[in-house]
Assembly symmetry: D2
Homo-oligomer: 366 residues x 4
């Protein structure tokens, strides 16, 4: 049950519900001496905030991050960094139909089964606002990762059935459009979304993450495989229903001769001619770009009337009111990026112990 902590050496602990005093995170294990200020965090946080476009909820939340500890004279001290975002004043609202009924596709039923009791206001701890803590943690992780030359690019690779065009991918365009697609023309996805919204329905999509600059050797050969760690990290995000690395499910349809990436030497480095492996071999990073995709289900909150039951196990009709995200994918992009950043930094810190291997190796020569 005490599962609000993620990571081993670089570690985040998140807290807070949709309608309490606020949402926060404690980041433990961050190296000392890293320059850090609230703007570093706010920049990434703004990419997940609501109200950015017609495709996401119109709620207006400023979501300002305050650093409460762990930073002194503009630099991290190596002690826990506590960061909080206050919840905006909540209008007094009538939650009685949500309190007493189980919304399809939501965690209302499983919460009640597990705890016998739940904070039903705005989804409580299962609200999308829970991801604020993850994004704050991710922003801090990225500040450290950039010191090591690791960079993370994350984008929408499909909205519903509409996929991006791989030929025209341009990562510089990702934040220029509301859907976070790496291309200039997003009209096909927009047409699809408008039609979905006109019906009071919702859409899902796929998010893709490219992590470059990792040294070879992150992760370990058995249960600590870096792909296994990334999968847990990303699958722990609310709406994610699938994760794949490199060619993923498609690799299962290929032959070994197609899927194997040949190694070659350019005279200096050992490189791969292709990257079907997605930068990971035997659970360890191979030095190439790590590629991961996450499937996002359509938002369960829709305006249409739905069949369901109430807490007394009576069959009822339910219509969910209020403002919801017709498509959460664009706002989930920084969340996927953050969980990857946290996982990679943690692996990098665990791997720092490999210095010991090298030390030992040096001794052995004597």
């Amino acid at each position: 049950m005490s599962d609000s902590t993620f990571g081993r050496l670089f570690r985040i602990t998140t807290w807070g519900e949709s309608h309490g005093a606020g949402i926060g995170v404690v980041i433990d294990g961050c190296p000392a001496g890293v320059a850090l200020c609230e703007e570093d965090i706010q920049k990434l946080l703004d990419l997940r905030k609501p109200g950015q476009s017609r495709y996401t909820t119109a709620r207006n939340e400023s979501d300002s991050a305050f650093i409460l500890s762990g930073v002194f004279e503009g630099r991290t001290t190596g002690t826990p960094i506590s960061v909080m975002v206050r919840n905006a004043d909540q209008k007094s609202r009538d939650y009685s139909n949500i309190a007493e009924s189980y919304r399809p596709g939501h965690a209302d039923y499983t919460y009640d089964q597990k705890y016998g009791f739940r904070d039903y206001r705005g989804g409580g701890r299962s609200s999308g606002r829970e991801t604020i803590g993850r994004v704050i943690g991710g922003a801090v992780a990225m500040k450290v990762l950039e010191k090591f030359g690791v960079s993370i690019i994350t984008f929408t690779s499909s909205i519903g059935p509409v996929r991006i065009s791989r030929e025209n991918m341009d990562f510089s365009l990702i934040n220029d459009n509301a859907l976070r697609m790496p291309q200039a023309d997003i009209s096909e996805a927009e047409v699809y979304l408008k039609e979905v919204m006109a019906n009071g329905d919702s859409a899902g999509g796929v998010i893709e993450c490219h992590i470059s600059g990792c040294p070879a050797g992150l992760g370990s050969p058995v249960f600590g495989k870096i792909d296994a760690q990334l999968s847990k990290a990303v699958m722990s995000i609310g709406a994610v229903k699938g994760v794949e690395i490199g060619d993923g499910f498609e690799a299962s349809t290929h032959r070994g001769s197609e899927n194997n990436d040949s190694f070659y030497s350019d005279g200096t480095n050992t490189l791969k001619r292709t990257n079907h492996s997605g930068g990971i071999l035997g659970g360890m990073s191979d030095g190439d770009t790590i590629i991961l995709r996450a499937a996002i289900k359509p938002t369960p909150s829709i305006s249409m009337v739905q069949d369901t039951v109430n807490r007394n196990n009576e069959n009822i009709k339910l219509q969910i009111k209020g403002r919801h995200d017709p498509c959460i994918v664009p706002r989930a992009v920084p969340v996927v990026a953050s969980m990857c950043a946290i996982t990679i930094l943690d692996a990098l810190m665990v791997n720092a112990t490999s210095e010991i291997h090298r030390l030992i190796a040096a001794y052995q020569k004597d």
Copy 2:
């Protein structure tokens, strides 16, 4: 680096390389009083052993399990259960070309990068033999799970591009055919495999797992989501490149109105009309069957000549000799089942602490 342990309350630690004295596992946290003997383990282990069909390696390994501790008078004592499988006497073989070169798709390169050194005989710790410890742990977990009415059915749902027919699925047929497919006619997959083998190539596939009988409430709302735990468990298996729950990647192309599972009451229980969620809502089991799929890449060991480099970073041609699995999918079926069993039992034990919730609830009424 110390990542050879998996699980929290029910926990396995595996050890052993392909060519050492043996392979083993220490199972810690198993409840006391469970009837357990070597035959219970051997039955599952035999499903992963080589030499079962023309589609898997012809190596002859008996893989007999010996229980070394933790069982007294035929029952588990609650203390660690140590189980070992001795490696058959290894023929003295010439490994020099593997020792000095990096096989494409294998962990040779990443191992050397991480440790500066590796046991190159038969893949060492990255050998498929590493999964023996997982299957032993899974067999023990299944013995406990059956006491709680949880059962796990696992099967091949595709070989290369050939998928099973969903209409004719019959789980009673899974172990009647060499490919572990839940149907009588597997000829289409066999034709594909024979053609692949004739070319000295290899094939992948997809494995599907159905876990039924779980109470609602396994897992927890944030980082301990049961789908996140299962993803890590399954993605930590050597050849797995993707994991999905319920409708998985397909769900990302659907609308909310299609993907939401309506709840209904049959007068007694709260049930779902469909199971697109794959038995998990908000990271907690919803009482329905948990459905998971794992993508298996084609075996990297193929007979064709491949381009690669050696340890001196020189471009070379490599032909891998010896007997290999043209398709590892059928032998990986019990491995996927085992990792799911271990994860679910662990979650069930963590959830036992929910008894405390109920106790508290009872007190509150006073």
Copy 3:
């Protein structure tokens, strides 16, 4: 480094420095449905606050606890409980001599060696204020423990060389005197303390903790011994230099025939005639009162001039200014109680999985 989290199923993560925005804790894994309000926490917190007597620092800190999450309609929800205490406005002070020099007996030197950098204001994270998060966690744990009939009594058993009189122990008097001694007459200790204070010196002491009402079987036989867990918990408190269980170090001077506690039956229960074991046998609670003692070193901050070095490794004279606790023992009493409460509740929750043993046992009879 990420060591600001303690516990397995009931878990606290603390954050905050002496001179930042505040001090806080995230309590994760608390059972749902427990009545909890800020007064429950404040009561214990007030026992550790400064300014309670002439023997502790005269600083005036109100230390008011605010619950930021995890409580809904007056009851815990099973999600993380975030609690914060704001630091009072800090007078602008001159820390230059502390910033540049290493106080004997303090962590200044080791901090600089580990992190190369430290928040020197008021001891930063090594300040006694760090224990605020522990006491908040302890207060919540005690609220849950009382539902299970577990109670914890903690008191001062010696101040410097002055020990309490075992014959006249009366636990009802503990909070009636400034030294938290379980007796009416504390004059001998007061005489000692006054003399120490007159010299600008400081004193240590011993704290004793009695935990009653635990079921037999908490803890486990090897590395999870309940005495080992308690030792870690208590030794992690700043000034503690020793921990013992039952007769502790004295037991090492006794013979087996003296130290063994005879079991006897009163017709209904299995009981022990003596409790030299301190309620723990083979690492598991034996149903008797658990008895633990912690040695507290004298406060390192003294008014006398001391020899030390500065950051440039130059020999200097240092006189520490400001208000300090001549004896921290009375204020450490609730801290020791809190760490024991957290450890015992965590063990109780892990032990809830023993329900599974009983379930299995029931099945075996079939």
Copy 4:
């Protein structure tokens, strides 16, 4: 319950009972490239084996260690090192009185309360033989530690009430006498022990451990204090009832001016004039020798008739037969050393991540 694993990055998992097939350990996270053979382990293991003197049990167990995995061409590979000691063939013996009754001072009662069932032969998992796995892990840890200049000296500092003479301490004599005392004349302790043995009684004692060569900065400021970690490690050994660091309980009777260790500079290094702190300040190693003492209770197995109850809760008389250690202290010396070695190596490996601090610091200068 799954508490048979100890350590974070350097980690041991022990298994085995007194009367099963054997006793073993899986050592995970050992750096790659360390020269290791069975003799390295056997040397330390021989110091704990029975039958070494008249003061310990006369049982004859050869306790030979076999390395089953993780070593290739004489060097560790970075993968789990599995080591096993076979139990000697057990004479068929009558355990009926132990099976049905609760020996005072033993874990029989608490085991039955926790698991409802126990392997009663020779104490099962609570047997002293459980420490074999710890000593094997310790021997491997020491091999790595010596590469870093860390050395561990452990000895008996008292037997019952007889203390060693601090003036005449000579560490070179420790293994020259049966009691592992650092002095030439052990006659006073021998006189005491002979008298105890003549009465069929048993004795306890204190073990002291000096760890030198540690860099400053091992451990961390809050729950990961190196003294807290060492306490848990040592208190988890069967007969230990107390642990102290530096001046320990005696420090609680001293004044700050006596207990503070002054820093001074010798021109090059920052040093301490005294070592009351036992090499630890604020939970982090200060570069000085770490000093720890563990109180060992008298062996609970004595030949005298004792009052107790049986499993039916009936009052009975019990006389324990068989060969037992009248004083376990000398054989526990390598066990204490081993737990300290494992803890320190683990902390050293976690601390290797501090390399990252230095890297960051270097970047900041830009």
